[in-house]
């Protein structure tokens, strides 16, 4: 059995509708109002079925990628963990820098004052 790309079916229906449209435009003013309306009806019907079918296939396609999306979500979580670890590291570095500065200030405070004179 030949594999048919489902998305090609709406496309084929659109092309049929294009043919109807071309016919209607080509014979334009030679057609009666009723004939034009009949052709409009057929063109609209073909395009309507095409869009509806395409919407159904799209809906189905969205359902099918639920699993890959969840996997991507896990990869995002792993990256988040790493980024949080880096952020913790940055904060730890900041804390040490502040403690050292504080130590420096304490040592300065402890410097004995030599009386003048």
């Amino acid at each position: 059995m030949t594999n048919i790309d489902p998305f090609q079916i709406p496309n084929a229906l659109m092309e049929l509708a294009d043919d109807v449209q071309n016919f209607r435009v080509r014979f334009g003013t030679q057609l009666t109002v009723n004939q034009r309306r009949t052709l409009n009806t057929r063109e609209n019907a073909l395009r309507g079925v095409s869009v509806s079918l395409s919407a159904l296939i799209t809906h189905d396609a969205i359902d099918r990628i639920t699993e890959p999306l969840a996997q991507l979500g896990e990869a995002i979580d792993e990256a988040d963990e790493f980024l949080m670890a880096v952020e913790s590291l940055r904060q730890a570095l900041g804390t040490i820098a502040r403690v050292l500065n504080l130590a420096s200030s304490i040592i300065t405070l402890m410097t004995p004052v030599t009386p003048v004179g």
């Binding site: 003013t29 395009r47 869009v51 509806s52 050292l100 200030s105 004995p112 030599t114």
Partner: protein, 344 residues
């Protein structure tokens, strides 16, 4: 790396513009069903057939027949084909497809953002923290030296002797800073590569599948289906109006030709403006596909590099970032062009 920051800025700008495509799925359907022509002029021929329905229910008796009256038709077509309330067919509500698409796109954007953050060598600016740490260590050593020297002054006889020399203190502080630096470097180098490799190698198949689906939705559903049908409905409506004017008794009898001609020109202009808008929406959607293709190509290249047990060079990363930035910039430009046309 400046290029990664530029990519990140562009990515943020593009992120705000992506919903314009998803939001247009439903709106395109609404515009299409609005293009059911009203009868602008009295015609010598009375319509005698039952009027259109999109699923060919013309001869189907009962509730499925759609009214002949154009305004009633518009309301009915909207309910059936945009809102998914068809009496006989189970059709999706197009208002739901847009948010689904936005959600999927949001996951892709979030994934790419995290990838960029992990890959960014300036991540959280650790170098600056190390500089501060080094400066603080020097301050401690220098203060200690001052204290040590002061304790040697004979004018303060009762000062206790220093328990640690400035050299010893400097050595201890330096050792702590160096060990911390060493551990951090190991963590950053090893972990960053590992996280990147895990993300890219482990997610490549899923990432490509999601990108393919997004491309399928935009290309087949939006461009080739919704916009195409909308454009055809637009053409049909304007062709009907123009044909009605051209074949009108007023025009044929030659009276008021200038007025009818002016009306024809005005119709033609309005038709062209609406077609131009559809074309801009199509170009925006194609630019979006360009972004997806560029992301897909870059990810595949990194996947191949990591799978071969190698690490991407800075040049390779730059080239990928450049290509992605160019695709994003093109998308943003097309989005701005569409916005300008819409507000005109």
């Amino acid at each position: 790396m400046a290029k990664i920051r530029e990519f990140s800025t562009l990515s943020n700008q593009a992120k705000e513009r992506f919903p314009a495509i998803a939001g247009d799925f439903y709106r395109s359907c609404l515009r299409r069903v609005q293009y059911v022509p009203v009868s602008p002029l009295p015609s010598s021929e009375e319509p005698t057939i039952a009027i259109s329905s999109d699923l060919g229910e013309v001869n189907n008796p009962g509730s499925t027949v759609i009214s002949e009256e154009p305004l009633a038709q518009r309301i009915e077509l909207k309910k059936r084909f945009c809102d998914g309330k068809h009496p006989e067919q189970e059709l999706p509500d197009l208002q739901e497809i847009g948010p689904h698409f936005t959600r999927i796109n949001g996951v892709v954007v979030s994934y790419v953002e995290k990838l960029g953050l992990v890959a960014d060598p300036n991540l959280t600016n650790l170098d600056a923290e190390f500089d501060t740490l080094g400066a603080s260590a020097n301050n401690v050593a220098s203060s200690a030296r001052g204290l040590f020297l002061a304790t040697q002054q004979p004018s303060v006889p009762n000062t206790p002797p220093a328990v640690i020399s400035p050299e010893q203190l400097t050595g201890k502080v330096d050792a702590v800073v160096n060990i911390f630096g060493f551990v951090t470097e190991l963590f950053m180098e090893g972990e960053r590569r590992e996280v990147l490799e895990t993300m890219i190698v482990g997610s490549n198949a899923d990432f490509q599948e999601v990108l393919d689906s997004l491309e399928l939705i935009v290309d087949n559903f939006y461009i080739k289906s919704l916009l195409r049908a909308e454009e055809a409905a637009l053409d049909q409506t304007y062709q009907e109006y123009i044909t009605a004017l051209e074949t009108s008794d007023t025009f044929r009898s030659g009276s008021d030709v200038i007025s009818v001609t002016n009306h024809l020109i005005s119709l033609d202009n309005s038709w062209n403006e609406k077609k131009e808008l559809i074309q801009s929406r199509r170009e925006l959607a194609q630019a979006y596909i360009g972004v997806l293709d560029s992301l897909s190509g870059g990810h595949t290249l990194l996947f191949e590099i990591f799978t071969n047990g190698e690490t991407p060079t800075e040049q390779q990363v730059q080239s990928i970032v450049d290509e992605n930035s160019a695709a994003l910039k093109n998308f943003i430009d097309k989005s701005k062009a569409l916005n300008n046309k819409e507000i005109q």
